[in-house]
């Protein structure tokens, strides 16, 4: 890994990209992102979540430090630097502005962190593009509480960036200050930051073994110190959370699998969601036809039922249910492939490959596979019957973004003379799929009766029709 920001030019095959080119690209991306949210997705239809929850005006008269604690008024949630910050700002600004701002911050932070991490302009620019195309936060149009979700993900990226500096052995004061600020922002962002801890613990031993085998004892020791620090921080966090704002209980949204009291339902429930959540993230970059039942999407439920011609009518609903749950076959395939990829990446690290790509692959695969491990502790809910709640699996989403960007970077490396063409083809796919997935998500959410999503591509067609 190298800090290529100092070079001021970055190659794409035989071509060079300089800073003004990057600024122009990011400006275009942010402009398109803003247009998409405001015009195509009708972002100004979003309303303030806390107002919708009936939070009284007294809530906003608290001392500033009280917002840094779990919020008893809001189910004990501890999301000071994202949801709560968003709610406070939304007393002044429209939620759509907060959404645009947080998504824009994510695009820029994603680009900068990816470039610092890899030195690859293709990787970094694709990461930035994916934070526009991937509709991980589309549920904000139904339940409006995640307008600042982009900030949460940005904090995580900053935490990664700061952690990499420490693991590399950068021990200047500013490195620790940067790490401290990023960690505080991140930990106070949302309870599911602990998902990251699970991923770190899972990869800790394999990474430590690979580093030690390649006689990189110092990096191995620094990495394990970081893991130890995060585990300690998690213990303190959980004690504080349980003491001040524990909101789980029978019948609540956060009712935990442990309350089943028996191992078999705990296991069944947990495994179901680990695999399902993994695919929920991966599905955001796949054609909808490879995600769910294409016949359900294209023909509709009534047509499917009619085609049974009344056979076994008392149990006919199971035929329909088959189409609702069809996506789980694809989820299993993707999960198995990702496990193979994880083993491959670790073997390469074990063999001594020090390329940044191997480490990004290893950590990103782990994030896609197990990035929702703590969220999976919450009991299975009807809303998990189709893969559309991307905001719940934001760690997996970042892993997915990293893997796809890595794939594009690898593709470009295959034939450097055609680098720009490869980038154009890959980005075309991502934009196409991004809009297609948005339409498909609208189907899933309608099927689950969890509200409605905008259909930007139809809105665009209507807009064009108006113009001509």
């Amino acid at each position: 890994m190298n800090l290529s920001m100092q070079k001021h030019h970055w190659p794409i095959g035989p071509y060079q990209v300089r800073l003004p080119g990057i600024v122009l690209f990011l400006a275009m991306l942010l402009g398109v992102n803003c247009f998409n949210i405001v015009v195509l997705e009708n972002g100004f239809s979003i309303t303030d979540h806390f107002t919708n929850l009936g939070i009284s005006k007294d809530y906003y008269a608290k001392s500033w430090w009280e917002y840094l604690l779990p919020q008893r008024e809001v189910y004990g949630t501890w999301a000071s630097t994202s949801v709560v910050l968003g709610a406070l700002v939304q007393q002044v600004l429209h939620p759509a502005i907060v959404l645009i701002f947080s998504q824009s911050v994510l695009i820029v932070v994603g680009f900068v962190v990816a470039l610092r991490m890899s030195g690859s302009i293709v990787f970094a620019a694709t990461v930035a593009l994916l934070f526009f195309t991937v509709p991980f936060n589309y549920h904000v149009y139904s339940v409006h509480g995640t307008t600042a979700h982009g900030l949460l993900m940005s904090y995580f990226l900053l935490f990664i960036d700061a952690s990499i500096a420490l693991i590399r052995g950068h021990t200047r004061r500013r490195d620790f200050v940067y790490f401290g600020i990023a960690t505080v922002l991140f930990v106070l962002g949302y309870e599911t930051w602990i998902d990251v801890v699970v991923v770190m613990v899972l990869v800790a031993l394999p990474v430590w073994m690979a580093l030690r085998r390649n006689v990189d004892y110092e990096t191995a020791a620094r990495f394990m110190r970081l893991v130890g620090f995060i585990i300690g921080l998690t213990v303190v966090y959980v004690i504080a959370k349980v003491s001040w704002g524990f909101g789980s209980g029978a019948g609540t949204e956060t009712d935990l699998v442990f309350f089943y009291g028996f191992l078999s339902p705990i296991w069944d429930d947990y495994v179901t969601k680990v695999i399902a959540f993994s695919f929920t993230a991966a599905s955001l970059v796949l054609p909808p036809e490879l995600v769910s039942s294409s016949s359900l999407m294209r023909m509709g439920p009534d047509w499917l039922v009619a085609q049974q011609h009344g056979y076994h009518p008392q149990m006919q609903f199971l035929t329909y249910a088959n189409h609702i749950f069809l996506w789980r076959f694809y989820a299993g395939i993707v999960f198995a492939l990702l496990l193979v990829l994880a083993v491959y990446a670790w073997l390469k690290a074990w063999e001594g490959r020090t390329d940044w790509r191997i480490w990004v692959m290893l950590f990103c695969v782990a994030m896609v596979l197990f990035g929702a491990s703590t969220h999976s502790l919450v009991k299975y809910r009807p809303m998990h019957s189709m893969p559309y709640l991307g905001y719940q699996v934001w760690v997996n989403v970042i892993g997915t973004v990293g893997l796809v960007a890595l794939a594009v970077d690898w593709l470009v490396g295959l034939r450097k003379k055609a680098a720009l063409a490869f980038v154009a083809i890959a980005w075309t796919y991502l934009i196409w799929i991004g809009f297609s997935v948005r339409s498909a998500l609208g189907i899933y959410v309608a099927t689950m009766q969890m509200g409605t999503y905008p259909n930007p591509i139809r809105n665009l067609v209507a807009l064009i029709a108006q113009l001509f």
């Binding site: 003004p20 009518p313 991004g434």
Partner: protein, 205 residues
């Protein structure tokens, strides 16, 4: 030789091209009715269950009325289980259509599964059949040895009709025949709509 000057415009130009082509592809491939044909799963399942509840209520009412036992009925909606040997397309609202299969040349259009009526006790065949395309149909009740227990032409075009037959204690079945009206060499057409066919033993009350 550089084909594209990437110093400033390259990355933005690639993005612009991808944006135009990718968006166009999405417009072309996302169907207009992608979302409008969808319904909440709860509503779909509720309709399926309501349809079954209605059928079940009809059968229960029939059974209670006769204080007897239903051998089978199209009211159950299980057309595949009722008609032996051929596949019959379901009518959009009730019952099923009778089609001339490719293998049909003459004789029975379909036959029901066998049932064993109690010897000396009456059982009832209740049917509601509409002949289509000017054909003439006949319904028969036969025993397993091929003996005709009862036969009559379908008349009344969809009006409910009842046939009462005395059971012999041997296996029996119902079959529908084509008297005339369709050329034997022209299979595939729909010749009847069986709105209802129920066979049940009458009670002792």
């Amino acid at each position: 030789m550089r084909l594209v000057r990437t110093d400033v415009l390259g990355l933005g130009a690639v993005f612009a091209v991808a944006l135009v082509v990718g968006t166009t592809l999405a417009i072309m491939t996302v169907p207009d009715n992608f979302q409008s044909i969808q319904r909440p799963s709860r509503a779909v399942i509720k309709d399926i269950l309501a349809d079954w509840d209605r059928r079940e209520a009809e059968m229960v009412a029939l059974q209670n009325l006769q204080a007897g036992r239903i051998y089978y009925s199209t009211l159950s909606g299980n057309v595949e289980a009722l008609v032996v040997g051929v596949s019959m397309p379901r009518h959009p609202s009730r019952g099923f259509f009778v089609e001339l299969s490719g293998a049909w040349s003459s004789g029975a259009l379909w036959r029901s599964p066998s049932f064993i009526p109690e010897a000396g006790r009456p059982f009832e065949v209740r049917h509601q059949i509409t002949a289509l395309d000017d054909v003439s149909l006949q319904i028969r009740v036969k025993d397993d040895a091929g003996g005709v227990l009862f036969q009559t032409d379908i008349e009344g075009q969809g009006r409910e009709q009842r046939i009462e037959v005395i059971g012999t204690g041997e296996k029996a079945y119902v079959e529908l025949l084509l008297n005339s009206g369709v050329e034997a060499e022209a299979p595939g057409g729909r010749v009847a709509w069986v709105e209802q066919l129920s066979v049940f033993a009458e009670g002792t009350q």
